[in-house]
């Protein structure tokens, strides 16, 4: 790659330059994974900023474009510039940057990219080695490709919710986060990095088309269900219970929250019984194995619930784990964060941000001991690196930059 903008970066992806031309969760998260491991990532925002800046969480719930937690989390370690791609001068500027990049990650509607004159073919015309990674709810082709959509629409189009999350006859559920965006962003990172890695082999850059819905419909839902559907025309729906065919295998309430109660194999069940004080009911024939226990789910869950309600989640987890039974506490966010485990592993990292101060960030998603990753700098302020990128990297003069500012291109 051409000269780097920032001090030489270490990390497994050092030397790569990636443009983040996305907003919200999916594309920014994918680009941040590249930044985590040393790529130089330049985030190009429209003049009004990434829409995530206008979403909380904010400290004290006070909206402030420079203090969005949603924006911060997905944009650490990036350089931030503004560029109005809908203006010819803005498009030209972006294309100059594209010439110097290895990849561009985006999550705009395909029609929007075409309207801006920034389709993959147009980008490849200025840089044939560019890998364009597009991450959208539905993908670049197919009847829904021009549909408006969000994480919610994508997730519920996969079968995952109707099959696996919620009570029968009540609404199917998303997981309380951006599950489709995260699944899509991770798939895009893997396939996109492969496309970058293999450029010499395959003869140049290419367009990597990720549909968040399709990735989940295939690799999560399809893996487990599509064979049965295709061959036997049969299919299942959600039950509201963790595992309907074996028991115990579900989330149960305890004195201070909830536990994931799992005791399927004979040794696990024995361990659980021991922890519960070998109650007499547990010796009943109907509780002999995981299948018979599931057939008598109402009875057994009531018995176990009586016991869990009297005990604390960490106590249950510790004793069951010691007895060979894979029960875990359903950690709240606070409990997950405060548990000594992640601290003993030095997972969290402190990062500085001009508006937010020092923040304790989640650590690198995985560990590469020879080329460590993880956040080192906070997310950029809006347009923070305009001078460095447009001036320093592209060599625009001060008067040129001034003119671009006056035209509201940057």
């Amino acid at each position: 790659m051409t000269e780097a903008l920032t001090p030489p970066r270490s990390g497994a992806l050092a030397g790569l330059r990636v443009i983040d031309f996305g907003q919200g969760v999916s594309a920014p998260h994918c680009a941040r994974l590249f930044a985590d491991f040393g790529a130089e990532v330049i985030k190009v925002e429209p003049p009004q900023g990434d829409a995530a800046r206008r979403s909380g969480p904010y400290p004290g719930d006070l909206p402030d474009d420079e203090k969005s937690g949603l924006f911060f989390f997905h944009n650490t370690d990036k350089l931030g510039v503004t560029c109005d791609a809908s203006q010819p001068a803005g498009r030209a500027l972006l294309l100059e940057l594209v010439k110097r990049a290895d990849a561009l990650v985006e999550n705009n509607l395909p029609a929007q990219m075409r309207q801006w004159g920034l389709s993959h073919d147009e980008l490849a015309a200025v840089n044939p080695d560019l890998v364009t990674i597009s991450i959208t709810p539905f993908g670049q082709t197919g009847p829904y490709s021009e549909w408006l959509g969000s994480d919610l629409n994508a997730y519920h189009l996969t079968g995952a919710s109707a099959r696996y999350c919620g009570r029968p006859s009540e609404a199917p559920l998303e997981h309380g986060t951006f599950s489709a965006d995260y699944f899509g962003s991770v798939a895009a990172a893997a396939w996109g990095l492969a496309a970058i890695y293999g450029r010499a082999l395959v003869g140049g850059g290419q367009h990597v088309d990720v549909s968040c819905a399709e990735a989940i419909a295939a690799a999560f839902v399809g893996g487990q269900n599509i064979g049965l559907l295709a061959q036997d025309k049969r299919w299942d729906s959600r039950t509201g219970v963790g595992m309907p065919l074996g028991a115990p295998a579900t989330i149960l309430p305890c004195r201070d929250g909830h536990v994931w109660m799992l005791a399927l194999e004979p040794g696990q069940w024995k361990g659980l019984c021991k922890v519960m004080g070998d109650p007499e009911w547990a010796t009943l024939d109907i509780f002999d194995n995981m299948y018979s226990r599931a057939q008598n789910a109402d009875v057994i869950y009531e018995f176990i619930r009586e016991w869990t309600r009297e005990h604390d989640k960490m106590d249950i987890m510790t004793k069951c784990q010691a007895a060979g039974c894979p029960v875990s506490a359903v950690f709240t966010i606070e409990e997950a964060v405060r548990h000594p485990h992640l601290h003993a592993r030095n997972y969290f990292v402190d990062v500085e941000h001009p508006a937010l101060g020092t923040l304790q960030c989640l650590g690198a998603p995985f560990r590469l001991p020879a080329s460590p990753g993880g956040a080192k700098r906070g997310a950029p302020l809006l347009g923070q690196h305009n001078d460095a990128v447009w001036g320093g990297l592209l060599g625009k003069s001060r008067p040129e930059l001034q003119r671009l500012r006056e035209q509201r291109v940057i």
Binding site: G149, N153, F178, G242, T332, I333, L362
Partner: protein
């Protein structure tokens, strides 16, 4: 000649079992790597015994869910309980670039395939370990199922109906998520190897990787000491209202609607025929709708109830509203979008049956991913033993007879 795939020439030995580990290999396989999963009839992976089976014939080579989840991995049958089996695996590793494992911490070392042992036969080897919660720390040896691993991240505490207890997700979302994520980790290490000549031992704690998914809730905890709780299908950060799943005509038919700006709200109001309740000026802004979210959702649900989900989604899309049908499993093979994108494909298995698996769920403009049927036990023995290790026929026969190759 077809365009080569980006990972052509990369060889992977996969000790991964059940679901997450095989998906790591599958992802690299789609992208052109040669992936040899090491397994054995001496200890058959439980997922090979899961019904349904091809043509209803119970056989560890015919489990349809196993095949879909493992497709792309090759299979070499070596009994690792026997010293000779382990020695053969090590010889294969010496000819490989990447080793994948998802045993519990310490197991790979006891088998003789720890990082130092691998480095001795292949100095720049990349070893990828994906334990539940890492290779150190108080929860190093925590026992979880794929189903419950997410409980360690805080994610499970966010799933459920608004105001209620957490509800379990009924399958291991984190298995394929971590599997595909793991392929990214390996690619990063391959890039580092290309830059420096160095291999390494990747530690992929599934807990730490999956915690990415609670990032937004984590930031709220960091800023405001709030831990989050189930809130149904409402927007995770409250940045869109309405944002939910609403009933439609028919059995278990629903539509998802996500309105993330005020203009889209006006479009929805118009599409609903501008009912009086929606004309409330307070609802014109996100803050106003958020304050009345339960009422707004109830009203929309009362309206959607009479419509066909697909027709209504199309109507709302034409009006400029983000809406889509909620599919159940029975819809997947007929859905025009997945059909158009070849999401699911029927393949001919070498053992003589047809099976439907998922294909290349990511599309690349320059090359076509390698989609193969699920691996039969030992399907790649020939390639590995004769092709890579150059063993003579009588030696291979001896290994088979003594059930080292088994």
């Amino acid at each position: 000649m077809a365009t080569p795939l980006p990972l052509q020439g990369i060889r992977v030995i996969n000790f991964g079992w059940v679901w997450a580990g095989p998906v790591v290999g599958q992802t690299l396989g789609f992208l052109g790597a040669e992936v040899l999963k090491i397994e054995s009839r001496a200890r058959i992976d439980m997922t090979r015994n899961l019904p349904p089976f091809a043509e209803g014939i119970v056989d560890p080579n015919r489990s349809l869910s196993n095949h879909a989840c493992w497709a792309g991995n090759g299979s070499v049958t070596l009994d690792l309980k026997q010293a000779e089996g382990r020695a053969l695996a090590l010889r294969l590793i010496a000819e490989s670039d990447v080793v994948i494992e998802n045993f519990g911490p310490g197991v790979i070392e006891r088998l003789g395939f720890g990082y130092e042992a691998l480095r001795a036969v292949k100095p720049d080897i990349i070893l990828f370990s994906m334990p539940a919660a890492g290779l150190s720390g108080p929860l190093e040896h925590v026992r979880t199922y794929g189903l419950s691993l997410t409980s360690l991240t805080g994610l499970d505490s966010l799933v459920g109906y608004k105001g209620e207890s957490p509800l379990p997700v009924e399958n291991a979302f984190s298995d394929p998520f971590a599997g595909i994520f793991g392929a990214f980790a390996i690619l990063a290490a391959l890039n580092h190897r290309r830059n420096t000549g160095q291999g390494q031992h990747i530690e992929f704690s599934q807990q730490e990787a999956v915690m990415q998914m609670v990032g937004p809730a984590y930031m709220d905890y960091l800023f405001n000491q709030r831990s989050g709780a189930p809130k149904g299908n409402e927007h995770p950060t409250g940045a869109a209202v309405p944002h939910g799943v609403f009933p439609c005509r028919g059995d278990d038919r629903w539509i998802s609607i996500a309105v993330d700006n005020d203009a889209m709200w006006q479009a929805l109001v118009a599409a609903m025929g501008s009912p009086e309740w929606a004309g409330d000026a307070a609802l014109a802004t996100l803050a106003g709708r958020a304050a009345a979210v339960d009422r707004v959702h109830a009203q929309i649900g009362a309206w959607t109830r009479g419509f066909d989900d697909r027709e209504l989604a199309a109507t709302l899309q034409r009006a400029g509203v983000a809406a889509a049908p909620v599919l159940n499993i029975g819809d997947l093979l007929d859905d025009p979008h997945y059909k158009a994108r070849d999401t699911f494909v029927e393949v001919q298995h070498p053992l003589g049956f047809k099976e439907t698996i998922y294909g290349s769920y990511v599309k690349m403009s320059r090359c076509q991913a390698a989609v193969r049927p699920g691996p039969a036990l030992g399907a790649d023995n020939e390639r590995a033993l004769r092709g890579i290790l150059k063993l003579p026929d009588d030696e291979i026969r001896r290994l088979e007879q003594s059930r080292i190759v088994y």
